[in-house]
Symmetry: D2
């Protein structure tokens, strides 16, 4: 019997600390341990190597994932899943730690129902939109990258009378946008989960601009598709020269923060402990109300994450 680790889907800061802890902790527990490179694609193609301490030396502070990730269409076909399983069998791999999101967990669930395999998922996405956990690996680093960008903009903003629109990641979830807006004191925040009452904002902002307000900072979640629209509105209706930044992939990059490193370590320890102690597969590690635990994969994939209502109540504020 042996353990393996794999990244699947979008990348997020914290993957490398998780990979390092996987090697260290599996070694400590006396288990053989492998890397599956390049995600599900690599599993199909047999890109599996035994992992050693030297592979993970000096990677804690590096962004990305040294074992790479992928999205796989082939894995939807039984034939390829069978081929993937044959590859695992060669190395006697029966326990799998998977860093990924909803889609990856769903794929693994099906896989583990068809073949004798245990897996534990570690929720990993900067969107923080996986059901059942308060925290997904990568979020803290992403938030601090955004904070750094917003600080740079605000620092110079007072020099000019301007509006700034900053688009942050988040396809269906406004978590990054809301928390960034709060942490940086943005005046406007546009997210998929809430209507932006443009009439109310317009009235208030026009009054404030008339009263001397020099600048406005708006944070827009990518998934709303409203970046250009908000910029146009600020320029023509509110009457401020407006500048747009689209942060894009820099949010997924960078040196993992202390929180993302510690979360990575704890997630991996709980994942390996579960794989070693229990025959009960298909779990996802969670962090909720200050504690770690394991939840059913069914729970995760059959529910949709909803943003905390307290966060939602905060976003219409203009301070």
């Amino acid at each position: 019997m042996a353990l393996a680790i794999m990244c699947s889907g979008g990348d997020a800061p914290g993957m490398n600390p998780a990979i390092k802890k996987f090697v260290d902790y599996a070694f400590k527990r006396g288990q053989k341990h492998y890397f599956i490179h390049h995600g599900l694609e690599g599993m199909i193609d047999g890109e599996i190597t035994e992992a050693s301490h030297s592979d993970v030396a000096g990677i804690l502070h590096r962004g990305g994932a040294i074992i790479r990730s992928s999205r796989s269409k082939r894995f939807f076909e039984y034939e390829y899943r069978k081929q993937a399983f044959e590859n695992l069998k060669k190395y006697d791999i029966t326990g799998l730690v998977v860093l990924g999101g909803d889609g990856s967990f769903r794929a693994m669930q099906r896989f583990s129902e068809e073949f004798p395999l245990n897996f534990v998922g570690i929720p990993t996405t900067i969107d923080n939109d996986i059901y059942g956990t308060d925290y997904c690996l990568g979020v803290d680093t992403a938030l601090n990258v955004i904070r750094d960008a917003l600080d740079k903009i605000r620092d110079t903003a007072s020099t000019f009378d301007r509006a700034f629109v900053v688009e942050v990641m988040g396809r269906e979830c406004g978590y990054l946008a809301v928390v960034s807006a709060l942490a940086s004191g943005a005046e406007i925040c546009i997210i998929p989960e809430a209507d932006f009452n443009i009439k109310v904002a317009e009235k208030q902002l026009l009054e404030e601009v008339a009263g001397g307000r020099g600048y406005i900072l708006a944070v827009v979640a990518e998934g709303t598709g409203k970046t250009a629209e908000i910029a146009e509105w600020l320029e023509s209706t509110i009457g401020l020269e407006t500048r747009v930044s689209i942060l894009g992939h820099i949010q997924r990059g960078g040196n993992p923060t202390v929180t993302d490193r510690l979360m990575a370590f704890e997630f991996v320890i709980h994942a390996i402990d579960h794989l070693l102690h229990s025959r009960d597969a298909n779990k996802v590690v969670y962090y909720r109300d200050g504690a770690y635990g394991l939840m059913e994969i069914d729970d995760v994939v059959s529910h949709t994450y909803t943003i905390d209502s307290e966060l939602l109540s905060a976003i219409n504020l203009i301070d």
Copy 2:
């Protein structure tokens, strides 16, 4: 009736976000609100000003505290406490938010027993050593400053065969040292709360160095006073050229992280809400097991913080 905010004792990142939220939230709740500048010294000398939005514009990302802090010997004398109270009375200040640590809370407790005054303390110290709360304001920023330093050292460490000793803050508490050592994969961690078994470490390190280990990273808590001793031991006994860094005050500086901003906001909101809803003074806000609450000041000052045993169990590991 009016509210005031004050910083007392050592500075920590997150004070400025707390000060900004104090102004915004007191305003939202319709309360008059004041700054007490320069801590207890300023309270004695009447350095009190009405706070406005413009005072706190653009301060979220600045280190330090715009209203300054102090330590006060005069405040131990009744005469000066009376004078301080007279100053508060001039502005009708009856509720006080105090950013500080054990010593400051103790001083405020006595003060509030002698005079009709409510206060709520917000645990603020990068040492994270206040009883009853999992988190003290400033810790996350300090940890990430230390991480940045350790990353820089580790990044170049493989270039040379060397040992590095890094002294971090923590007079009586090894929290910063332990968490930094874990997050950065340091081989050695020396803290006040635990004996360092030098014989065990020596045997293991000599074996590892003989086996090719090129470098060693040791994190030492300031309070142990052992920085020079450990450096000497690494150089003469373990046989590696050794370099020392003493990080010092840079750990208290810098732009507050997202976590420290959000914690500052929540601590302040809970503090003001309590001051407005209750006549029951002398509380300290806590964050424990994922939730906020208020604890008796007696509890805080009559107990001593002890470091989490799980953290302690981790520090003798050499990975």
Copy 3:
């Protein structure tokens, strides 16, 4: 007789160190010294204050400009220029240090021909596109902000097979784009001054992708307007999933680097020295071939900056 300093046009990192040195050095030279706030608009409206050491304490590391900047349409009218001059006369200001670009220098030239006034311009723009100087204030900080963004993207890029398009500032000048692309090893760089031979690049990239190249990093200067086009080409023709970042205003923000602080100091010292030693107005400070000097304002505004041909020769390389 007194000196004044003013920011005009777009903001750039390094303005605050220049403002601080202006105060310190004018004081050292025994001159009365003033701030003109809010650029030419503030000069028209009489926003002039005497500058003191306490105004500039602790500003070296802050982005933006504490005295703010502006663009002014009114200044094109003689009547307002006259009004501006009357304001200067009130304070006996006869020497003016102006942080700005071509447009601002042209405005000042006219102003100083009409009224008895000396000014020295300090070339200040992250675009680095002012004729006659190798360096404009703010460039080094902007380049390092872009580098940080490109590093974050590259760090994670190997995790996935992707193309990344990063749009950087530069309306008519590709300096930032070229230097950033070189410093970060980008495969593609698109600037206003050079044609991008898409056929050559296409052939080479298709070969490389066929040969296993996993990712491509393209840096595009804003002024080309080709960001979307290049992204589309990489996605559909080259066949890589493509992501776009538009860095925007974060490039103007942030803590000035050591180079920008030292350049700011030198520029200001040369400007003040010239104003004090010479009745010969209308100069711009330059830094060329490792030395500082003063050039005629006519030279600056009658020539167009052209990018260094050695830089141009480097940008078609794919490494």
Copy 4:
């Protein structure tokens, strides 16, 4: 005939960009190219490998040197130098690029006199103390790391009445200390090349503290050995609570700045061009008055670097 690159002596930021450019440019010029790992020690032990593009992918932003460095006592003995030369001969290496300082250049000079070998040295040290060049690789990154530390300290300094003593690197040269002190507005700077007139400073500081000065920032070069003494003086004579930071090895670490990357590229291009065009060995690349060139190794090792007198004249200023 083939080229090789080697790091020797202390590490400095910018080594990895130089190593990357060496591979790219030697390839472009059609030369076989090798890495000598682990400096002179590795040359003796035959740690030589052919270099490829994949070795240097993604290293531009990493601190340290992927080919490592060393100091070698064995190389002082002829026998080992002969052995080193035999190793080079195996690979037909006749041209060598050496990243290092005075000591390394001296060793290489002797080596190249004894054996048929050309080498070009690239001045590489954060101390910036090599004769004949205005710039040594690594300096800009080190200065910005120090700036970041001093900014963190200054940011919080106003919160308290304190003195801060920060020790920076520089064994015999105060360059880092002087430039850092200037760039950060430190009040005191202590370097090996200049006497610190403690009586004058004492008088002035006591007056200023009496007049309300809250804090003092002192930058001390490591080589003076006066860190503790200055701290003691500030505490007992000037009367301010004083804190010490010893930055240590973090100054050698971290992501190379844009300047260090571009300097690394240019230094390497000039070094390789010289090795290919000329039989005239034993040169060191310089950057002086804005231009690159090659100087005799004899010049470098027979002269001592002296700090710029303009810098010296600035350090006694208290602003």
